[in-house]
């Protein structure tokens, strides 16, 4: 289940508040916003689309946060290895990175 793709709201319809035109790298489709009626997206927002309905707004902040966390994976480890490489006897008190 659950093929859902991120798309950007590029056009809203004055006469249909629960519909929007979304864009996925140049492919466009009218999508139903009925499931987001408690907090309708505006033009420029990114939403997750499943079977022609917007399921959720996508938080750019959370996405950036996630990538930041992942990019730091192994950095603490690498820093520890670097420190150990200096041959210091007691590495317990050394700050990592």
């Amino acid at each position: 289940m659950c093929l859902a793709i991120p798309g950007q709201v590029v056009e809203l319809f004055a006469d249909q508040p629960t519909a929007a035109l979304i864009d996925v790298v140049g492919v466009r489709r009218k999508v139903d916003l009925g499931l987001l009626q408690d907090d309708l997206p505006v033009k420029g927002d990114w939403v997750l689309i499943h079977v022609g309905f917007a399921m959720s707004k996508i938080s750019e902040e959370d996405a950036i946060d996630q990538m930041r966390t992942l990019r730091m994976l192994g950095e603490a480890e690498a820093a520890m290895q670097e420190v150990e490489g200096y041959g210091l006897e007691d590495t317990r008190n050394t700050k990592a990175s």
């Binding site: 289940m1 093929l3 996925v24 790298v25 492919v27 466009r28 489709r29």
Partner: protein, 354 residues
Amino acid sequence: MNLAAADSPGDHLPTVRFREPQIEMAHGAGGKASRRLVEGLFAPLLFSSSSEPLGDAAHLDFGGTRIAITTDSFVVKPLTFPGGSIGELAVNGTVNDLAVSGARAEAMVVTYVLEAGLPSPVLEAEVRAMGNAARKAGVTIAGGDTKVVEHGKADSMYITTTGIGRPLHRLNIDPRSVRPGDRILLSGPIGDHGITILLARGELDLEADLRSDTRSILPLVEELVKVAAPGIRWMRDPTRGGVATSLNELVRDCGFGVVLQEEMIPLHDAVRGACELLGLDPLHIANEGQFLAVVSPEYADAALNALSLAPGGEDAQIIGEVREQPSGAVLVTTRYGGSRIVDMLVGDPLPRIC
């Protein structure tokens, strides 16, 4: 079976291996079902007993003169779509089939099967398109036939063509000449035609700035032949069933495997977007203006260079290579080390939501 049949060359009697009770749409989609039909029914009954792999076209010898011949039929809905129409598909498809068999199309004959009730302006537009495409491709339309069938029996129109051409010099295209280490060249971005048609049908309510890639690839093939003729092992135009189907046919016929690098496969954004939205794999989508070539390593770089400098070949890429393993399979690898097998589809690719 009547063993006394005088026509039999004395080889084993042809056995029909096709056991399915009725013909389904899948049998025309170019994938596994099509293959079962051709190999299981047509081949034993129609083709002379031979171990030659079935190709796009046949090269026949008439007392020293070699002629290439191919036939194809064009069934498409809608008739017209961004980038072309059935008339252009008919000409370019025929030219391309001959080109990838290593021949230059010279002439074709064409049959129209028309549905009663087809508006004449629609027919005129297609015939005009066909004439223009033929002139552009340098092909003479030498004759044809027309039939009209009852309303509801021909989806507006079906076009069948038979094209003949002259084999290009010094080419020996045979999947059995393919060797591990040979490179796989692709002439340009894939999926444009199939996705354009899918969108043009209107059922999915998707819009994109996308056009069919229908064109004659003969000029590109000729550029390739100029610099790499001795190294060209195999060529194919990946139409219905896409690159995946063509390459699966290759590995079946040569016995080796193919490994593709996903990031090297040229793709327009809109094709990617549509495929992601609909859950389709671009490797399974039809193309009408691209070709694959297997080229020996010594000639591969020159081949790619020649293609990329030729008009219309700017996006050509080497997308993978032939390997010993996985034998009989096509593998796609990603930049981060994951891989997956890409198989031939059964029938047409279907959008999915799961």
